[in-house]
Symmetry: D2
Subunit: 165 residues, 4 copies
Protein backbone atom coordinates (compact mmCIF):
# COMPACT_ATOMS: atom_id res chain seq x y z
CA UNK A 1 0.00 0.00 0.00
CA UNK A 2 3.04 2.23 -0.48
CA UNK A 3 1.20 4.37 -2.96
CA UNK A 4 -2.00 4.62 -0.99
CA UNK A 5 -3.87 7.73 -1.90
CA UNK A 6 -6.93 9.28 -0.35
CA UNK A 7 -8.07 11.46 -3.22
CA UNK A 8 -10.65 13.90 -2.08
CA UNK A 9 -11.59 15.47 -5.37
CA UNK A 10 -12.62 12.47 -7.35
CA UNK A 11 -14.81 12.95 -10.37
CA UNK A 12 -18.37 12.01 -9.49
CA UNK A 13 -18.63 9.81 -12.53
CA UNK A 14 -20.97 6.94 -12.98
CA UNK A 15 -18.22 4.62 -11.77
CA UNK A 16 -20.47 3.11 -9.18
CA UNK A 17 -23.78 3.09 -10.98
CA UNK A 18 -26.13 5.71 -9.64
CA UNK A 19 -28.76 3.69 -7.90
CA UNK A 20 -31.90 5.34 -6.69
CA UNK A 21 -32.07 2.79 -3.96
CA UNK A 22 -28.84 4.17 -2.55
CA UNK A 23 -30.34 7.37 -1.31
CA UNK A 24 -31.69 7.78 2.15
CA UNK A 25 -34.99 9.48 1.59
CA UNK A 26 -36.46 9.02 5.01
CA UNK A 27 -35.60 9.67 8.59
CA UNK A 28 -34.00 6.28 9.02
CA UNK A 29 -31.22 6.89 11.48
CA UNK A 30 -29.11 4.30 13.22
CA UNK A 31 -28.67 5.28 16.87
CA UNK A 32 -25.62 4.62 19.00
CA UNK A 33 -25.44 5.64 22.66
CA UNK A 34 -22.38 7.23 24.22
CA UNK A 35 -21.39 8.93 27.44
CA UNK A 36 -18.78 11.61 28.10
CA UNK A 37 -16.19 10.06 30.38
CA UNK A 38 -13.24 11.81 31.99
CA UNK A 39 -10.79 10.80 29.25
CA UNK A 40 -13.02 12.45 26.64
CA UNK A 41 -12.95 15.82 28.38
CA UNK A 42 -10.52 18.69 28.13
CA UNK A 43 -9.57 21.51 30.53
CA UNK A 44 -13.03 23.05 29.99
CA UNK A 45 -14.82 20.01 31.39
CA UNK A 46 -16.40 19.32 28.02
CA UNK A 47 -15.72 16.71 25.37
CA UNK A 48 -12.60 17.62 23.39
CA UNK A 49 -13.68 18.39 19.84
CA UNK A 50 -11.67 15.56 18.28
CA UNK A 51 -13.22 12.88 20.49
CA UNK A 52 -16.52 13.08 18.67
CA UNK A 53 -14.77 11.46 15.70
CA UNK A 54 -14.20 8.29 17.71
CA UNK A 55 -17.93 8.09 18.43
CA UNK A 56 -18.81 8.80 14.83
CA UNK A 57 -16.58 5.96 13.69
CA UNK A 58 -17.99 3.59 16.30
CA UNK A 59 -21.55 4.42 15.23
CA UNK A 60 -20.67 3.80 11.58
CA UNK A 61 -19.05 0.45 12.32
CA UNK A 62 -21.98 -0.62 14.49
CA UNK A 63 -24.45 0.46 11.83
CA UNK A 64 -22.61 -1.71 9.31
CA UNK A 65 -22.69 -4.59 11.77
CA UNK A 66 -26.45 -4.11 12.21
CA UNK A 67 -26.97 -4.68 8.49
CA UNK A 68 -24.71 -7.70 8.38
CA UNK A 69 -21.37 -6.15 7.40
CA UNK A 70 -18.53 -6.87 9.82
CA UNK A 71 -15.95 -4.18 9.24
CA UNK A 72 -13.00 -6.25 10.45
CA UNK A 73 -14.01 -9.05 8.07
CA UNK A 74 -14.12 -6.51 5.26
CA UNK A 75 -10.59 -5.41 6.10
CA UNK A 76 -9.42 -9.02 6.32
CA UNK A 77 -10.83 -9.55 2.83
CA UNK A 78 -8.67 -6.71 1.53
CA UNK A 79 -11.14 -3.83 1.41
CA UNK A 80 -10.87 -0.67 3.46
CA UNK A 81 -13.20 2.31 3.80
CA UNK A 82 -11.01 5.29 4.71
CA UNK A 83 -12.44 8.72 5.46
CA UNK A 84 -11.47 11.11 2.68
CA UNK A 85 -13.45 14.12 3.76
CA UNK A 86 -15.36 15.32 6.78
CA UNK A 87 -17.08 18.45 7.96
CA UNK A 88 -18.36 19.01 11.47
CA UNK A 89 -20.41 21.70 13.14
CA UNK A 90 -20.24 21.89 16.91
CA UNK A 91 -23.51 23.35 18.15
CA UNK A 92 -23.27 22.72 21.86
CA UNK A 93 -20.68 21.03 24.03
CA UNK A 94 -21.31 17.74 25.77
CA UNK A 95 -20.17 17.90 29.38
CA UNK A 96 -18.54 15.22 31.52
CA UNK A 97 -21.07 12.65 32.69
CA UNK A 98 -23.69 13.49 30.09
CA UNK A 99 -24.93 10.84 27.71
CA UNK A 100 -25.90 11.33 24.10
CA UNK A 101 -27.10 9.52 21.02
CA UNK A 102 -25.01 9.45 17.86
CA UNK A 103 -27.42 9.23 14.93
CA UNK A 104 -26.01 8.19 11.59
CA UNK A 105 -27.21 7.06 8.19
CA UNK A 106 -25.68 6.54 4.80
CA UNK A 107 -26.89 9.58 2.90
CA UNK A 108 -26.00 8.62 -0.65
CA UNK A 109 -23.29 7.35 -2.98
CA UNK A 110 -21.93 9.79 -5.52
CA UNK A 111 -19.56 8.07 -7.89
CA UNK A 112 -17.04 6.42 -5.59
CA UNK A 113 -17.91 8.69 -2.68
CA UNK A 114 -20.02 7.19 0.12
CA UNK A 115 -21.57 9.98 2.19
CA UNK A 116 -22.72 9.58 5.79
CA UNK A 117 -24.72 12.05 7.82
CA UNK A 118 -24.47 12.51 11.56
CA UNK A 119 -26.37 14.17 14.34
CA UNK A 120 -25.36 13.91 17.97
CA UNK A 121 -28.23 14.70 20.28
CA UNK A 122 -29.23 14.42 23.89
CA UNK A 123 -31.06 11.15 24.64
CA UNK A 124 -34.51 12.75 24.37
CA UNK A 125 -33.55 14.92 21.42
CA UNK A 126 -33.98 18.30 23.07
CA UNK A 127 -30.34 19.33 22.57
CA UNK A 128 -28.33 19.09 19.38
CA UNK A 129 -24.59 18.83 20.00
CA UNK A 130 -23.13 18.24 16.58
CA UNK A 131 -23.96 17.75 12.93
CA UNK A 132 -21.50 16.27 10.49
CA UNK A 133 -20.95 14.70 7.12
CA UNK A 134 -18.27 12.09 6.48
CA UNK A 135 -17.22 10.80 3.07
CA UNK A 136 -15.63 7.40 2.59
CA UNK A 137 -14.24 5.59 -0.42
CA UNK A 138 -13.72 1.87 -0.77
CA UNK A 139 -10.13 0.91 -1.52
CA UNK A 140 -8.29 -2.25 -2.39
CA UNK A 141 -5.89 -2.53 0.54
CA UNK A 142 -3.20 -4.39 -1.36
CA UNK A 143 -3.11 -2.12 -4.39
CA UNK A 144 -3.96 1.03 -2.46
CA UNK A 145 -6.40 1.89 -5.23
CA UNK A 146 -9.97 3.08 -5.12
CA UNK A 147 -12.55 0.43 -5.87
CA UNK A 148 -14.90 1.51 -8.63
CA UNK A 149 -17.46 -0.95 -7.25
CA UNK A 150 -18.23 -1.61 -3.63
CA UNK A 151 -17.84 -5.28 -2.69
CA UNK A 152 -21.22 -6.75 -3.62
CA UNK A 153 -21.98 -8.01 -0.12
CA UNK A 154 -21.57 -4.48 1.22
CA UNK A 155 -23.51 -2.85 -1.57
CA UNK A 156 -26.37 -5.35 -1.27
CA UNK A 157 -26.57 -4.81 2.48
CA UNK A 158 -26.65 -1.05 2.05
CA UNK A 159 -29.30 -1.25 -0.68
CA UNK A 160 -31.48 -3.54 1.41
CA UNK A 161 -31.01 -1.31 4.42
CA UNK A 162 -32.11 1.75 2.48
CA UNK A 163 -35.06 0.00 0.80
CA UNK A 164 -36.37 -1.08 4.17
CA UNK A 165 -36.83 2.54 5.14
CA UNK B 1 -20.78 27.50 31.94
CA UNK B 2 -23.91 25.37 32.28
CA UNK B 3 -25.46 26.99 29.25
CA UNK B 4 -22.38 26.92 27.09
CA UNK B 5 -23.28 27.00 23.46
CA UNK B 6 -21.14 26.53 20.40
CA UNK B 7 -23.36 28.17 17.80
CA UNK B 8 -22.18 27.39 14.36
CA UNK B 9 -24.46 29.55 12.34
CA UNK B 10 -23.79 32.92 13.80
CA UNK B 11 -24.64 35.98 11.78
CA UNK B 12 -21.49 37.37 10.25
CA UNK B 13 -22.36 40.79 11.49
CA UNK B 14 -20.00 43.61 12.16
CA UNK B 15 -19.80 42.48 15.75
CA UNK B 16 -16.05 42.33 15.63
CA UNK B 17 -15.26 45.22 13.36
CA UNK B 18 -14.14 44.07 9.96
CA UNK B 19 -10.49 44.94 9.90
CA UNK B 20 -8.54 44.71 6.71
CA UNK B 21 -5.47 43.96 8.72
CA UNK B 22 -7.09 40.73 9.85
CA UNK B 23 -6.83 38.99 6.55
CA UNK B 24 -3.95 36.82 5.57
CA UNK B 25 -3.10 37.97 2.07
CA UNK B 26 0.24 36.29 1.70
CA UNK B 27 1.74 32.87 1.99
CA UNK B 28 2.66 33.39 5.60
CA UNK B 29 2.35 29.95 7.15
CA UNK B 30 3.42 28.89 10.58
CA UNK B 31 5.10 25.49 10.40
CA UNK B 32 4.97 22.78 13.05
CA UNK B 33 6.79 19.47 12.65
CA UNK B 34 5.25 16.14 13.59
CA UNK B 35 5.99 12.46 13.19
CA UNK B 36 3.62 9.49 12.93
CA UNK B 37 4.26 7.32 15.96
CA UNK B 38 2.76 3.92 16.69
CA UNK B 39 -0.05 5.33 18.86
CA UNK B 40 -1.18 7.55 15.95
CA UNK B 41 -1.63 4.62 13.60
CA UNK B 42 -4.58 2.33 13.02
CA UNK B 43 -4.87 -1.24 11.68
CA UNK B 44 -3.85 0.03 8.22
CA UNK B 45 -0.47 1.23 9.43
CA UNK B 46 -1.40 4.83 8.67
CA UNK B 47 -2.35 7.73 10.89
CA UNK B 48 -5.93 7.36 12.10
CA UNK B 49 -7.97 10.17 10.57
CA UNK B 50 -8.91 11.75 13.90
CA UNK B 51 -5.29 12.06 15.06
CA UNK B 52 -4.60 14.85 12.62
CA UNK B 53 -6.85 17.05 14.78
CA UNK B 54 -4.41 16.76 17.69
CA UNK B 55 -1.61 18.03 15.44
CA UNK B 56 -3.77 20.82 14.07
CA UNK B 57 -4.55 21.99 17.59
CA UNK B 58 -0.90 21.79 18.63
CA UNK B 59 0.15 23.83 15.60
CA UNK B 60 -2.49 26.47 16.38
CA UNK B 61 -1.43 26.76 20.01
CA UNK B 62 2.24 26.98 19.06
CA UNK B 63 1.47 29.62 16.43
CA UNK B 64 -0.29 31.69 19.08
CA UNK B 65 2.71 31.24 21.38
CA UNK B 66 5.02 32.41 18.58
CA UNK B 67 3.15 35.72 18.40
CA UNK B 68 3.10 36.19 22.15
CA UNK B 69 -0.23 34.65 23.11
CA UNK B 70 -0.01 31.87 25.69
CA UNK B 71 -3.19 29.84 25.31
CA UNK B 72 -3.21 28.55 28.89
CA UNK B 73 -2.89 32.13 30.16
CA UNK B 74 -5.82 33.09 27.99
CA UNK B 75 -7.89 30.31 29.52
CA UNK B 76 -6.79 31.29 33.02
CA UNK B 77 -8.00 34.82 32.26
CA UNK B 78 -11.44 33.47 31.44
CA UNK B 79 -11.36 33.34 27.64
CA UNK B 80 -11.62 30.18 25.59
CA UNK B 81 -11.38 29.59 21.84
CA UNK B 82 -13.46 26.49 21.10
CA UNK B 83 -13.69 24.98 17.65
CA UNK B 84 -17.20 25.48 16.27
CA UNK B 85 -16.67 24.16 12.79
CA UNK B 86 -14.10 22.22 10.85
CA UNK B 87 -13.74 20.64 7.45
CA UNK B 88 -10.94 18.32 6.44
CA UNK B 89 -9.85 16.72 3.19
CA UNK B 90 -7.57 13.73 3.42
CA UNK B 91 -5.46 13.61 0.27
CA UNK B 92 -2.89 11.00 1.17
CA UNK B 93 -2.23 8.98 4.29
CA UNK B 94 0.79 9.52 6.48
CA UNK B 95 2.41 6.21 7.37
CA UNK B 96 4.05 5.11 10.61
CA UNK B 97 7.52 6.60 10.97
CA UNK B 98 7.00 9.38 8.44
CA UNK B 99 7.41 12.99 9.46
CA UNK B 100 5.39 15.91 8.18
CA UNK B 101 4.92 19.64 8.53
CA UNK B 102 1.63 21.08 9.74
CA UNK B 103 1.25 24.50 8.11
CA UNK B 104 -1.30 26.86 9.58
CA UNK B 105 -2.30 30.49 9.40
CA UNK B 106 -5.18 32.58 10.58
CA UNK B 107 -7.10 33.14 7.36
CA UNK B 108 -9.53 35.86 8.40
CA UNK B 109 -12.08 36.95 10.96
CA UNK B 110 -15.69 37.08 9.84
CA UNK B 111 -17.89 38.59 12.51
CA UNK B 112 -17.14 36.48 15.56
CA UNK B 113 -15.72 33.62 13.49
CA UNK B 114 -11.96 33.19 13.44
CA UNK B 115 -10.93 31.03 10.48
CA UNK B 116 -7.72 29.05 10.28
CA UNK B 117 -6.31 27.28 7.24
CA UNK B 118 -4.24 24.13 7.34
CA UNK B 119 -2.04 22.12 5.04
CA UNK B 120 -0.14 19.05 6.16
CA UNK B 121 2.74 18.25 3.85
CA UNK B 122 5.82 16.13 3.66
CA UNK B 123 8.91 17.94 4.98
CA UNK B 124 10.06 18.98 1.50
CA UNK B 125 6.58 19.74 0.28
CA UNK B 126 6.36 17.09 -2.43
CA UNK B 127 3.37 15.32 -0.85
CA UNK B 128 0.18 16.91 0.42
CA UNK B 129 -1.53 14.84 3.11
CA UNK B 130 -4.37 17.03 4.26
CA UNK B 131 -6.04 20.39 3.83
CA UNK B 132 -8.44 21.79 6.39
CA UNK B 133 -10.25 24.80 7.69
CA UNK B 134 -11.07 25.29 11.36
CA UNK B 135 -13.34 27.98 12.77
CA UNK B 136 -13.06 29.22 16.34
CA UNK B 137 -15.03 31.70 18.40
CA UNK B 138 -13.87 33.48 21.51
CA UNK B 139 -16.06 32.82 24.52
CA UNK B 140 -16.29 34.12 28.05
CA UNK B 141 -15.69 30.94 30.05
CA UNK B 142 -17.70 32.00 33.07
CA UNK B 143 -20.77 33.16 31.20
CA UNK B 144 -20.43 30.64 28.39
CA UNK B 145 -21.17 33.43 25.96
CA UNK B 146 -19.53 34.44 22.74
CA UNK B 147 -17.25 37.45 23.00
CA UNK B 148 -18.15 40.11 20.47
CA UNK B 149 -14.58 41.41 20.76
CA UNK B 150 -11.45 39.35 21.00
CA UNK B 151 -9.39 40.21 24.09
CA UNK B 152 -7.30 43.14 22.93
CA UNK B 153 -3.96 41.46 23.62
CA UNK B 154 -4.95 38.61 21.34
CA UNK B 155 -6.36 40.84 18.64
CA UNK B 156 -3.32 43.10 18.66
CA UNK B 157 -0.97 40.13 18.38
CA UNK B 158 -2.94 38.72 15.47
CA UNK B 159 -3.05 42.08 13.70
CA UNK B 160 0.68 42.60 14.14
CA UNK B 161 1.34 39.06 12.97
CA UNK B 162 -0.69 39.59 9.82
CA UNK B 163 0.77 43.03 9.10
CA UNK B 164 4.26 41.62 9.24
CA UNK B 165 3.47 39.38 6.29
CA UNK C 1 -4.94 23.84 42.44
CA UNK C 2 -1.59 25.37 41.57
CA UNK C 3 0.19 23.12 44.01
CA UNK C 4 -1.62 19.96 43.09
CA UNK C 5 0.42 16.94 43.97
CA UNK C 6 -0.13 13.31 43.18
CA UNK C 7 2.04 11.71 45.83
CA UNK C 8 2.54 8.07 45.19
CA UNK C 9 4.37 7.05 48.29
CA UNK C 10 2.00 8.11 50.96
CA UNK C 11 2.30 6.58 54.38
CA UNK C 12 -0.38 3.96 54.84
CA UNK C 13 -1.43 5.48 58.10
CA UNK C 14 -4.72 5.08 59.76
CA UNK C 15 -5.85 8.30 58.16
CA UNK C 16 -8.87 6.68 56.66
CA UNK C 17 -9.84 4.24 59.35
CA UNK C 18 -9.10 0.68 58.36
CA UNK C 19 -12.51 -0.80 57.88
CA UNK C 20 -12.94 -4.47 57.37
CA UNK C 21 -15.98 -3.73 55.32
CA UNK C 22 -13.76 -2.01 52.81
CA UNK C 23 -12.17 -5.15 51.53
CA UNK C 24 -13.44 -7.12 48.62
CA UNK C 25 -13.38 -10.66 49.86
CA UNK C 26 -15.47 -12.27 47.19
CA UNK C 27 -15.62 -12.51 43.46
CA UNK C 28 -17.83 -9.47 43.16
CA UNK C 29 -16.81 -7.90 39.89
CA UNK C 30 -18.54 -5.12 38.06
CA UNK C 31 -18.62 -5.89 34.34
CA UNK C 32 -18.42 -3.36 31.53
CA UNK C 33 -18.59 -4.40 27.88
CA UNK C 34 -16.35 -2.91 25.21
CA UNK C 35 -15.46 -3.54 21.60
CA UNK C 36 -12.22 -2.86 19.72
CA UNK C 37 -13.02 -0.28 17.07
CA UNK C 38 -10.70 0.98 14.36
CA UNK C 39 -9.59 4.05 16.35
CA UNK C 40 -8.44 1.76 19.20
CA UNK C 41 -6.12 -0.22 16.94
CA UNK C 42 -2.53 0.38 15.95
CA UNK C 43 -0.47 -0.72 12.92
CA UNK C 44 -0.60 -4.32 14.20
CA UNK C 45 -4.39 -4.49 13.97
CA UNK C 46 -4.67 -4.87 17.73
CA UNK C 47 -5.73 -2.47 20.46
CA UNK C 48 -2.94 0.01 21.21
CA UNK C 49 -1.72 -0.68 24.74
CA UNK C 50 -2.70 2.74 26.07
CA UNK C 51 -6.30 2.46 24.94
CA UNK C 52 -7.10 -0.09 27.61
CA UNK C 53 -6.75 2.75 30.15
CA UNK C 54 -9.75 4.52 28.63
CA UNK C 55 -11.84 1.36 29.12
CA UNK C 56 -10.56 0.88 32.65
CA UNK C 57 -11.58 4.44 33.53
CA UNK C 58 -14.99 4.01 31.92
CA UNK C 59 -15.59 0.80 33.86
CA UNK C 60 -14.60 2.49 37.12
CA UNK C 61 -16.89 5.47 36.52
CA UNK C 62 -19.79 3.19 35.56
CA UNK C 63 -19.20 1.03 38.62
CA UNK C 64 -19.41 4.13 40.81
CA UNK C 65 -22.60 5.13 39.01
CA UNK C 66 -24.04 1.67 39.67
CA UNK C 67 -23.64 2.18 43.42
CA UNK C 68 -25.10 5.66 43.35
CA UNK C 69 -21.99 7.82 42.99
CA UNK C 70 -22.02 10.14 39.98
CA UNK C 71 -18.41 11.01 39.28
CA UNK C 72 -19.16 14.33 37.61
CA UNK C 73 -21.25 15.36 40.63
CA UNK C 74 -18.33 14.44 42.87
CA UNK C 75 -16.04 16.67 40.81
CA UNK C 76 -18.60 19.49 40.86
CA UNK C 77 -18.64 19.20 44.66
CA UNK C 78 -14.89 19.75 44.74
CA UNK C 79 -13.56 16.21 45.10
CA UNK C 80 -11.41 14.44 42.53
CA UNK C 81 -10.08 10.88 42.42
CA UNK C 82 -6.88 11.01 40.38
CA UNK C 83 -4.89 7.92 39.51
CA UNK C 84 -1.61 7.95 41.40
CA UNK C 85 -0.33 4.55 40.46
CA UNK C 86 -1.10 1.80 38.02
CA UNK C 87 0.38 -1.46 36.88
CA UNK C 88 -0.79 -3.43 33.90
CA UNK C 89 0.02 -6.85 32.48
CA UNK C 90 -0.89 -7.46 28.87
CA UNK C 91 -1.54 -11.17 28.44
CA UNK C 92 -3.08 -11.30 25.00
CA UNK C 93 -3.97 -8.63 22.48
CA UNK C 94 -7.53 -7.75 21.61
CA UNK C 95 -7.98 -7.52 17.84
CA UNK C 96 -10.12 -5.14 15.81
CA UNK C 97 -13.78 -6.11 15.93
CA UNK C 98 -13.49 -8.28 19.01
CA UNK C 99 -15.55 -7.53 22.09
CA UNK C 100 -14.49 -7.97 25.68
CA UNK C 101 -15.61 -7.51 29.24
CA UNK C 102 -13.77 -5.16 31.59
CA UNK C 103 -14.16 -6.55 35.09
CA UNK C 104 -13.37 -4.25 37.98
CA UNK C 105 -13.84 -4.06 41.72
CA UNK C 106 -12.57 -1.93 44.53
CA UNK C 107 -10.00 -4.18 46.16
CA UNK C 108 -9.32 -2.31 49.38
CA UNK C 109 -8.44 1.01 50.96
CA UNK C 110 -5.00 1.33 52.50
CA UNK C 111 -4.63 4.63 54.29
CA UNK C 112 -5.57 7.19 51.66
CA UNK C 113 -4.96 4.77 48.80
CA UNK C 114 -8.00 3.29 47.09
CA UNK C 115 -7.03 0.18 45.14
CA UNK C 116 -8.96 -1.21 42.18
CA UNK C 117 -8.43 -4.52 40.45
CA UNK C 118 -9.05 -5.19 36.79
CA UNK C 119 -9.36 -8.13 34.47
CA UNK C 120 -10.23 -7.79 30.81
CA UNK C 121 -11.58 -11.00 29.37
CA UNK C 122 -13.36 -12.33 26.34
CA UNK C 123 -17.15 -12.28 26.75
CA UNK C 124 -17.30 -15.94 27.78
CA UNK C 125 -14.16 -15.78 29.88
CA UNK C 126 -12.02 -18.18 27.87
CA UNK C 127 -9.35 -15.57 27.06
CA UNK C 128 -7.68 -13.20 29.49
CA UNK C 129 -6.37 -10.05 27.81
CA UNK C 130 -5.17 -7.93 30.68
CA UNK C 131 -4.86 -7.73 34.44
CA UNK C 132 -4.23 -4.48 36.23
CA UNK C 133 -4.28 -2.61 39.48
CA UNK C 134 -5.05 1.10 39.74
CA UNK C 135 -4.62 3.24 42.83
CA UNK C 136 -6.58 6.43 43.40
CA UNK C 137 -6.55 9.06 46.11
CA UNK C 138 -9.31 11.48 46.92
CA UNK C 139 -8.24 15.12 46.70
CA UNK C 140 -9.79 18.44 47.51
CA UNK C 141 -9.82 20.09 44.09
CA UNK C 142 -9.56 23.64 45.37
CA UNK C 143 -6.71 23.06 47.77
CA UNK C 144 -5.05 20.38 45.69
CA UNK C 145 -4.63 18.37 48.87
CA UNK C 146 -5.28 14.76 49.65
CA UNK C 147 -8.45 14.11 51.60
CA UNK C 148 -7.80 12.08 54.72
CA UNK C 149 -11.43 10.97 54.62
CA UNK C 150 -13.42 10.01 51.59
CA UNK C 151 -16.59 12.09 51.22
CA UNK C 152 -19.07 10.17 53.36
CA UNK C 153 -21.55 9.60 50.54
CA UNK C 154 -18.82 7.89 48.55
CA UNK C 155 -17.51 5.90 51.47
CA UNK C 156 -20.98 4.74 52.49
CA UNK C 157 -21.76 3.64 48.96
CA UNK C 158 -18.52 1.70 48.74
CA UNK C 159 -19.08 0.07 52.12
CA UNK C 160 -22.62 -0.93 51.23
CA UNK C 161 -21.45 -2.23 47.90
CA UNK C 162 -18.81 -4.41 49.52
CA UNK C 163 -21.12 -5.63 52.27
CA UNK C 164 -23.63 -6.79 49.70
CA UNK C 165 -21.11 -9.24 48.32
CA UNK D 1 -1.05 -13.55 14.11
CA UNK D 2 -4.32 -15.13 15.14
CA UNK D 3 -2.72 -16.70 18.16
CA UNK D 4 -0.73 -13.68 19.20
CA UNK D 5 0.07 -13.82 22.86
CA UNK D 6 1.58 -11.23 25.11
CA UNK D 7 2.78 -13.43 27.94
CA UNK D 8 3.65 -11.41 30.94
CA UNK D 9 5.06 -14.05 33.17
CA UNK D 10 7.76 -15.52 31.06
CA UNK D 11 10.55 -17.41 32.71
CA UNK D 12 13.64 -15.27 32.88
CA UNK D 13 15.69 -17.99 31.36
CA UNK D 14 18.89 -17.60 29.48
CA UNK D 15 16.92 -17.46 26.26
CA UNK D 16 18.52 -14.23 25.25
CA UNK D 17 21.98 -14.67 26.67
CA UNK D 18 22.54 -12.53 29.73
CA UNK D 19 24.97 -9.95 28.54
CA UNK D 20 26.59 -7.66 31.01
CA UNK D 21 26.79 -5.05 28.35
CA UNK D 22 23.02 -4.95 28.28
CA UNK D 23 22.64 -3.26 31.59
CA UNK D 24 22.45 0.44 32.02
CA UNK D 25 24.81 1.15 34.84
CA UNK D 26 25.08 4.88 34.49
CA UNK D 27 22.82 7.87 34.30
CA UNK D 28 22.61 7.73 30.54
CA UNK D 29 19.12 8.96 29.77
CA UNK D 30 17.69 9.81 26.40
CA UNK D 31 15.65 13.00 26.65
CA UNK D 32 12.52 13.83 24.68
CA UNK D 33 10.70 17.14 25.07
CA UNK D 34 6.94 17.42 25.25
CA UNK D 35 4.32 20.02 26.04
CA UNK D 36 0.84 19.62 27.52
CA UNK D 37 -1.60 20.76 24.85
CA UNK D 38 -5.36 21.13 25.23
CA UNK D 39 -6.11 17.68 23.79
CA UNK D 40 -3.89 16.08 26.46
CA UNK D 41 -5.85 17.65 29.31
CA UNK D 42 -8.93 16.47 31.16
CA UNK D 43 -11.64 18.32 33.10
CA UNK D 44 -9.08 19.13 35.82
CA UNK D 45 -6.87 21.12 33.45
CA UNK D 46 -4.08 18.59 33.83
CA UNK D 47 -2.75 15.91 31.53
CA UNK D 48 -5.07 12.89 31.55
CA UNK D 49 -3.18 9.99 33.12
CA UNK D 50 -3.28 7.81 30.00
CA UNK D 51 -1.73 10.47 27.76
CA UNK D 52 1.66 10.02 29.36
CA UNK D 53 1.82 6.62 27.64
CA UNK D 54 1.82 8.30 24.23
CA UNK D 55 4.83 10.37 25.26
CA UNK D 56 6.60 7.37 26.72
CA UNK D 57 6.15 5.49 23.46
CA UNK D 58 7.34 8.46 21.41
CA UNK D 59 10.45 8.81 23.56
CA UNK D 60 11.21 5.10 23.18
CA UNK D 61 10.83 5.20 19.40
CA UNK D 62 12.98 8.32 19.15
CA UNK D 63 15.63 6.78 21.37
CA UNK D 64 15.75 3.76 19.07
CA UNK D 65 16.04 6.10 16.09
CA UNK D 66 18.93 7.92 17.79
CA UNK D 67 20.90 4.65 17.96
CA UNK D 68 20.13 3.73 14.39
CA UNK D 69 17.03 1.56 14.77
CA UNK D 70 14.03 2.73 12.77
CA UNK D 71 11.00 1.20 14.44
CA UNK D 72 8.82 1.23 11.32
CA UNK D 73 11.59 -0.58 9.40
CA UNK D 74 11.70 -3.17 12.16
CA UNK D 75 7.96 -3.72 11.84
CA UNK D 76 8.24 -3.91 8.05
CA UNK D 77 10.87 -6.62 8.52
CA UNK D 78 8.43 -8.67 10.58
CA UNK D 79 9.49 -7.87 14.14
CA UNK D 80 7.35 -6.08 16.68
CA UNK D 81 8.11 -4.92 20.22
CA UNK D 82 4.80 -4.91 22.09
CA UNK D 83 4.47 -3.71 25.65
CA UNK D 84 3.71 -6.67 27.91
CA UNK D 85 3.89 -4.93 31.25
CA UNK D 86 4.01 -1.43 32.63
CA UNK D 87 3.88 0.28 35.97
CA UNK D 88 3.54 3.99 36.48
CA UNK D 89 3.69 6.30 39.46
CA UNK D 90 2.15 9.73 39.06
CA UNK D 91 3.96 12.10 41.41
CA UNK D 92 2.70 15.45 40.24
CA UNK D 93 0.34 16.50 37.46
CA UNK D 94 1.52 18.37 34.40
CA UNK D 95 -0.79 21.28 33.65
CA UNK D 96 -1.93 22.67 30.31
CA UNK D 97 0.79 24.73 28.66
CA UNK D 98 3.63 23.30 30.70
CA UNK D 99 6.53 21.59 29.01
CA UNK D 100 8.46 18.61 30.31
CA UNK D 101 11.25 16.22 29.48
CA UNK D 102 10.60 12.50 29.09
CA UNK D 103 13.77 10.69 30.12
CA UNK D 104 14.14 7.08 29.12
CA UNK D 105 16.77 4.40 28.96
CA UNK D 106 16.85 0.69 28.39
CA UNK D 107 17.42 -0.65 31.88
CA UNK D 108 18.26 -4.26 31.17
CA UNK D 109 17.26 -7.42 29.36
CA UNK D 110 16.05 -10.32 31.48
CA UNK D 111 15.49 -13.38 29.39
CA UNK D 112 13.16 -12.20 26.66
CA UNK D 113 12.02 -9.18 28.67
CA UNK D 114 13.41 -5.80 27.65
CA UNK D 115 12.96 -3.30 30.47
CA UNK D 116 12.84 0.46 30.04
CA UNK D 117 12.90 3.08 32.76
CA UNK D 118 11.20 6.44 32.58
CA UNK D 119 11.20 9.72 34.43
CA UNK D 120 9.18 12.70 33.33
CA UNK D 121 10.51 15.92 34.76
CA UNK D 122 10.21 19.64 34.38
CA UNK D 123 12.73 21.04 31.88
CA UNK D 124 15.18 22.09 34.60
CA UNK D 125 14.60 18.99 36.68
CA UNK D 126 13.11 20.65 39.76
CA UNK D 127 9.78 18.79 39.48
CA UNK D 128 9.26 15.08 38.98
CA UNK D 129 5.93 14.26 37.35
CA UNK D 130 6.12 10.54 36.74
CA UNK D 131 8.30 7.48 37.07
CA UNK D 132 7.60 4.30 35.16
CA UNK D 133 8.90 1.00 33.97
CA UNK D 134 7.82 -0.58 30.69
CA UNK D 135 8.62 -4.13 29.60
CA UNK D 136 8.70 -5.16 25.95
CA UNK D 137 9.25 -8.46 24.20
CA UNK D 138 10.31 -8.95 20.61
CA UNK D 139 7.87 -10.99 18.58
CA UNK D 140 7.78 -12.46 15.12
CA UNK D 141 4.79 -10.66 13.62
CA UNK D 142 3.85 -13.42 11.21
CA UNK D 143 3.99 -16.27 13.70
CA UNK D 144 2.87 -14.18 16.66
CA UNK D 145 5.62 -15.82 18.68
CA UNK D 146 8.18 -14.40 21.01
CA UNK D 147 11.66 -14.10 19.56
CA UNK D 148 14.25 -15.79 21.73
CA UNK D 149 16.86 -13.54 20.17
CA UNK D 150 16.50 -9.87 19.36
CA UNK D 151 17.21 -9.14 15.70
CA UNK D 152 20.98 -8.71 15.64
CA UNK D 153 20.88 -5.18 14.25
CA UNK D 154 18.73 -4.12 17.19
CA UNK D 155 20.77 -5.99 19.76
CA UNK D 156 24.05 -4.62 18.43
CA UNK D 157 22.73 -1.07 18.47
CA UNK D 158 21.52 -1.47 22.06
CA UNK D 159 24.81 -3.00 23.16
CA UNK D 160 26.81 -0.22 21.53
CA UNK D 161 24.51 2.35 23.03
CA UNK D 162 24.98 0.96 26.51
CA UNK D 163 28.75 0.52 26.13
CA UNK D 164 29.11 4.14 25.19
CA UNK D 165 27.78 5.15 28.57
Amino acid sequence: MSEQQHPSQLPSTDAIQPDNALQATTENWFEYSVRAHPHHTDYAGIVWHGCYLTWMEEARVEYLRSIGVDFSDLVALGCDLPVIELSVRYHRALRMGESAVVKTRMADIQGVRINWDYQIQSPKGESLYLTARVTLVAIDREKGKILRQLPSAVKDALVMSLRSN
